[in-house]
Homo-oligomer: 119 residues x 3
């Protein structure tokens, strides 16, 4: 089975596909002037885009890890998350607090998704 | 291959199966009056239950991530973990400290397991 | 499909293979007198070794999670990481700060890799 990399960089690839499983890198917002809700929105839009590039969508998500720079932002992040997740097709998820690579990042999300499904 | 979700909720599914691999969400204790050992016991019992529902058991675990609200509880958590893990069939594991979604949670565990095996 | 464990211990296995996917445990340095760069070098060498034992190498990495005891060490860790990652074959990666199991550990890395590829 081939390994396919989406936006491979020197440090990391945005996503790596192996067979029917795709691993999406820890994703942060581009416009970090946004608050937690805005950053979450940007991150989820990026995940939508990378999944679309692979012919999939958010209903294909298997698992997600959410890191919050401050877990007090839990409700704000979830407001955007809950509205985004397709009903009945939520991934397994873990959400914990962690200091991220830069103070400007308030949220980071990594995920694993399936590219082929029939449910 | 179908995606099968166990206890799918609005925010997350307790577990998501894809082919022969199952992703178990970050799992916390229900009775948070329990100490680290008690919370760990509850979490591992929940993982046993979800694996049983899929026809598997803890010897099928491939990988686990353990978050401790206070890494000083490392030995207490491991006391329960080590007794629970089947001899010779321990998963790959990482364990780090992280502030969890509520102060009452002292431990959270996510895992990946195989549903079919012959070892 | 069989589950194969590399260096299975009472608490965790260093790596667990299921089909063509291998899960590598959170890996820390043995010589913790080393600084962040030295610890990162040791960890990546251990990952090289376990992948070699399975007939693979670092170009097979799908995903990696890096925990830093102090995210201020981000650049030092990346100096070693960037030089190690094969050009064009970087995994999806997330890197966050977390207090690790002992104060002496400055870096911990877990990974998922493919054992069979054709890219």
């Amino acid at each position: 089975m081939p390994i396919e990399r989406i936006n491979p960089g020197r440090r990391l690839s945005q996503a790596v596909r192996y067979g029917d499983t795709v691993y999406i890198a820890g994703t942060v917002a581009d416009d970090t002037s946004a608050d937690v809700k805005g950053q979450t929105r940007q991150i989820l839009a990026k995940i939508d885009t990378v999944l679309a590039r692979l012919g999939a969508d958010k209903s294909h998500l298997l698992s997600a890890t959410v890191w919050l720079a401050d877990v007090a932002a839990y409700d704000d992040m979830n407001l955007i998350w809950d509205a985004w997740v397709p009903e009945g097709a939520a991934p397994a998820r873990a959400c914990v607090e962690a200091k991220l690579a830069g103070e400007e990042y308030r949220v980071e999300i990594a995920a694993i998704a399936a590219l082929d499904r029939a449910d």
